[in-house]
Symmetry: C2
Subunit: 176 residues, 2 copies
DNA sequence: GTCTATAGTGCGATAGAC
DNA sequence: GTCTATCGCACTATAGAC
């Protein structure tokens, strides 16, 4: 259904494409679509829960005694694993659709907010105090976001993890 | 209409309240409601454009030769002017409605993203370079957001500007 | 100011897996 | 038998078109 939806959004635009049309292309009924996705937008965000889980798991699985920087590193590594070269084309197409529609960007921001909350919780679960956890989550997601933006953009060929390392280095240099 | 909508949302919940009901209470037709507000959610965000304008104007009106910190200060002062004690009760009721509904928080995040973009632009217009502008906007809105949260919360009686000063001091101390 | 498309929900029916 | 996935249909409300 995700592929069918993306195709239809590209062909007709997000608003114009109907749930009935998506369902038809995917070979199911409209009602079934709503069994899988709470609403029309969700079909483009089905992967975000998995992303959140892997991020949280990555932080939880970091070695005992890791300091905050090491936990951030573990979080970034866990995130990067979700973005292989095979997924780049799909991610780009999805990103183009998202960028063209405010309602979809709205949903994206909500997912990012949820990701941030989960990240903060994952840091506090590792014994990081709350203020520090908030900052750590902020840094983690800023780096991730910058890397993701570049990974999506133009003719970027480097691996996701490399882009994250670069973004982290830049962040450090900006903070002096 | 904003008052009518807020009352109805409190009485019936956001989802249950219909645009027809809001329009009726405000003494207009449904069609008129949609002339003023693009959709049902927007009735709770009518003030955000004014907030954005005052923030941008505040940065633009700061003295010549202001450094980034001074511009941030001007931005915070301009923001604080929008939150007088008279508006606190309304803001609290609005916040309660927002907190109870994901669709409304979604819209709130979009408005915050728009505010951030406008803030970045206002900083670059003052000659701040882009990277620094992004950080300045981030700091400004973080401080604002923390202050706003506390202003809304519980039995907070201090003035908005004081809460912002406190939040800014905390941010400084966290960054060491 | 009316008319219409379509998003989204509730409930019950059906069909296959185990 | 139970469980789960899918479907069909009726319905409301939002939002846009004319």
């Amino acid at each position: 259904m995700r592929a069918a939806a993306l195709e239809l959004f590209e062909e007709q635009g997000y608003e114009q494409a109907t749930v009935a049309g998506i369902a038809e292309r995917a070979g199911v009924t409209e009602r079934t679509f709503y069994r899988y996705f709470a609403d029309k937008r969700e079909v483009l965000f089905a992967g975000s829960q998995r992303l959140e889980q892997s991020l949280v798991a990555g932080i939880a699985a970091a070695p005992d005694g890791s300091n905050t920087a090491a936990l951030v590193d573990a979080a970034l590594t866990a995130l990067a694993a979700n973005f292989t070269p095979q997924q780049q084309a799909f991610a780009r197409r999805r990103s183009a659709v998202l960028g063209a529609n405010p309602a979809l960007r709205e949903r994206e921001l909500l997912k990012l907010a949820s990701l941030k909350a989960a990240t903060i919780a994952a840091f506090t679960d590792r014994g990081t105090d709350e203020g520090r956890s908030i900052l750590a989550a902020e840094v983690t997601l800023s780096v991730f976001h910058i890397a993701f933006t570049r990974w999506i953009a133009g003719a970027e060929q480097r691996e996701f993890a490399d882009l994250q390392r670069e973004a982290l280095a830049e962040l450090r240099s900006v903070l002096g």
